[in-house]
Symmetry: D2
Subunit: 342 residues, 4 copies
């Protein structure tokens, strides 16, 4: 951490800052420029609440030089991680697709979709049983009944399963039925839920918050890992910007940024990001081309009658065509892909 | 809701849409323009998932014409509401200031601050016992112990009290000790927590999410009210934008917008919005000038040594000067203000 | 400027950086931390393109510690400036309102509006003769004819006059007819136009770009001042965010931020920021309360039939009521205000 | 255009609106819902300033249903366009790379770079002679001298050439030396410059403004085409968001959105979007994968000593490796690519 003093900072002001730091058991290092003086802090910064130094006289600003996340940080874990979900391994060398409906609506619907996405090359079945909806009057999910259907669909097809959780109760239920849990964008900084996900024992898919920086996102992952659960996968799903042509703005540059900053696997969800099924295929290819370890894609047997997010869902036919088209992109990225082997 | 068809939409496409709507028990109303055909839906839209209509052939887009929130909507409740917090009434005709430290650090600290803010004219003591922090390694709050200190400080000074809650456990504890609970920006769309806040029986201060539109914010309030708790106060605390000169961008235009769209009281938190104590006083005055029913302001006995958010906290002296300066602004807004009576 | 090296940066990497800097005639200052090494640069940085240092091996990032604008910087000009426009002085101690139609439509219309805003206390007449419009098919302004009407209206009423300019031709014409020119938001980084405004000899109102940071805005002001024209006034008019309840998001915190960073006067335009006439009055009061030196407000004789921006224009009656209500806010801010003297 | 009235709108209010519209020679179409009345406008809307209707009593809002751009609109020009630049054709079936330095620094530098990018498969040489820089104290370009070097480099290598223009003078000079002109992000709504580019006779690369919506961008293209110049190519180069890990946020979803809304070719500039050379290659592949017709990439002989934008420039070696890697992506997209033929 560096403290930049104001021009013409008084000698006593500089002394007050250095004394405060040293009083907390850290060392300082002064750098006298022509215009400003800079004070470097040497040692374990967790010992002091350095942000308060801004309140000291003649302090201009504080510049952090190291990241606050450690366990998720590639600097300290240079090798990319793989995360096991059921029999599947998500990470370097493979491309995994999580596909299924936004919301589980009925057993019959889910079975039909599960068979279809399995046939097309998906390895993980997604389906929402607990739906966080903007309006309290929208359909909120089948809850535990939906989880049961997910388990049955997983067993029948051999697909691994993932469900979003929104509360401790949902986690406690999910542990009984599915292979992986998802923390949604709106809960990315629900730190209580992150800690409980960390204690669940299940791998966790952590979606990016609508206005979360990469830095905040990795700190959220740190919450989960710090509870002893290293099995975290990050999912880029669009950020909120001024543009309204798509529901959110898919930030694909986050993929190479994350590959540099963290060892955790990264997947991309073009369905929620755009909210429009016609844009899903081109952006799915782009995601693989820029280094994603997988995709999450909404597929529905009858998008026009879906209870949630119909406009962004692919039909079985469109999803089948997409996985066919993705196969050569997986090969270019040196990733094995079930869709391409069939 | 209006459905705008594409130019040259086929007659069968228009027929498919109208039949689907009418099949769901609603009526349609066709408007044939020179370029496009528009289909109006007449009746109770909650009967169909109209957003899926986007997936129908030749549909260009869906335009909602009514808001999804009803209980929070001023159209259906034209009179502005007042919310009682302890003996205090927040709403038209009065200006209330919630003041105190970001985090409760110790009993002595809290008592000292409580007496100081009371003397300067605050009516409600704020103090965080459960702190949602970006990094898991930052100070997370004193939890129930902190709530107990809040209660004692409230009893000793006669101030009403408010604490942020982050989980059901925190709500269950808060109910025993404080007069009002706060849902923070990062939990604004934690719908489980909103429902539990709705069932708590306590008035709820609902902070705006960092990237929440006014529409989403009012839908979040609807979650609380729909549980039978009409005592919701909205708190504007800055939104996330590209500007970095302030921590967030305080959206004061939200105040007159909310006054038009909802009957709920609105307060403003310039401390969190800016993150810089020097900007708190001018923006507090601006908030009152544009119609806010109250303010939330961070005050600390020793900002340079605060465990959280020191840079944005006012000293006792600065807070006292601010309430003095606010008094004539309260008078101009025809609001009684305790600070001005002393 | 500070160069933060990566953890475990090789000694040769550090040497390469310091040699490059010293080769350019500057001095370096090393600070060896436990995790990272930091290199401070001492001397006149304009001698080297330091941003390229990012490309050097083992360099993590470059942190600027001084602002690039000097002439607009309050650090070097601690006293707030006043700018003369005709007989009017804009700056500390007075509150000036620029009012008038978005677009000059006819001589009769302009005269009528000029008399009305003068009577209500405005000191400067605004009116667009060159309109930058999103679509090429929208009304683009009366051009030089409009400027002539502005001059006549100014002479008849004694109001000073301001017009937006969009090209060198417009500046050359404006110099003949009006007292002040305006650079609009969409041209804030049209550096050619900024330089020509700087050479025009007229005071310049510089509106903030839709996505300009305060830092970029002050650098744009620097372009004008660097041409020898110190008479620059800044105008906050809303920034682009995700919120759609208002056309843009009025960033009132920019007012105290600017008061700290620059000596230039600052005014606020709530009409363009919100795009809704009902929000103009509360935000105009808020602007004065947080320190603005003036306001720019759209007033129209017949908003429902205006050729541009009707929805945000005030009628004469509403503008009159607003200036009456503003008078006590001006007094609280220790500013003389013509509106209050009548 | 649709006018949505407020609930309980008075019959006279509805009558006032319809009479105003019909008075302007248009027809109306009423749709009476259970809660609100909607008025559709039938006919040529350019006849009335419908936005002012918002000021009419009981009007809730105006919803446009058709786009304001016509010449750039794919609805009216369903076939994708190709644009000729020198001997090159940009559009369906080919992938073109524009490569070169951010700023032309000297003849020797430009020649060296031109030969290198030509050898690696670029078809167009880019190089800035007029540099719009945030600070007036940064290097502003070699101007006409730089254009002359561009011409010589084009003649020697057979590459087509493109230069940014910032003023009419720059356009008048560019016409003499280069094959294509570029309007930069900061000038995207400099409507005077757009019109002059439209009259220049040269093909125009129109970069997206930092905070421009797709809709505004296409309206800016419309300005150029409306002057009789249909040879416009759009260039996505990142938008401004809250994220700071990259300089801007590359909006790749804009590529499929544009492919749907316009017939104009679309290219992507990952160098300016990210500001970091390490992210250029993955995002270049992603751009091709999602449908871009070309790329603009910064290449420099010595990035560490570049006078502008060094950190984002590729070395010759990195650029050569990138074009090799891009070849199979071009094949998958069914595009011929010079880089792949060598």
């Amino acid at each position: 951490m560096i403290i930049v003093m104001k021009p013409q900072a008084a000698a006593e002001s500089i002394k007050a800052v250095t004394e405060y730091i040293e009083h907390n058991g850290l060392n300082t290092h002064l750098s006298q420029g022509t215009e400003v003086t800079i004070i470097g802090i040497v040692g374990d910064k967790s010992r002091l609440s350095t942000e308060n130094l801004v309140s000291f006289k003649d302090v201009d600003r504080i510049v952090p030089v190291t990241e606050s996340y450690k366990l998720a940080n590639r600097k300290f874990h240079p090798e990319p991680s793989s995360v096991k979900v059921g029999n599947i391994s998500i990470g370097p060398g493979s491309l995994n697709i999580m596909a299924g409906p936004c919301a589980v609506e009925s057993k019959g619907q889910l079975m039909e979709i599960a068979h279809a996405v399995k046939a097309a090359g998906a390895t993980i079945l997604r389906g929402g049983a607990y739906k966080p909806r903007t309006s309290p009057y929208s359909f909120q999910g089948l809850e535990e009944e939906g989880l049961r259907y997910m388990q049955e669909a997983g067993e029948e097809t051999g697909l691994a399963t993932i469900c979003e959780v929104v509360s401790r109760e949902a986690i406690e239920a999910a542990v009984k039925y599915v292979d992986m849990i998802q923390i949604g964008a709106r809960n990315m900084q629900n730190f209580i839920l992150l800690k409980e996900a960390g204690r669940s024992g299940l791998p966790v898919l952590l979606k990016r918050g609508l206005s979360a920086t990469v830095e905040e996102w990795l700190n959220a992952a740190e919450y989960i890992i710090a509870e002893g659960n290293p099995n975290v996968i990050l999912c880029e799903r669009g950020i909120r910007t001024f543009e309204t042509a798509t529901r959110n703005t898919l930030d694909l540059s986050a993929v190479p940024v994350l590959k540099e900053k963290t060892h955790l696997p990264v997947i991309v969800d073009p369905s929620h990001a755009t909210g429009v099924y016609r844009y899903v295929a081109p952006l799915a290819k782009a995601a693989v081309a820029c280094g994603a370890d997988g995709l999450m894609i909404e597929v529905h047997n009858d998008p026009a009658h879906a209870l949630s997010d119909g406009p962004q869902s692919l039909t079985f036919e469109k999803f089948g065509r997409l996985t066919e088209e993705l196969a050569p992109y997986a090969r270019l990225a040196a990733r094995s892909f079930q869709g391409s082997e069939e």
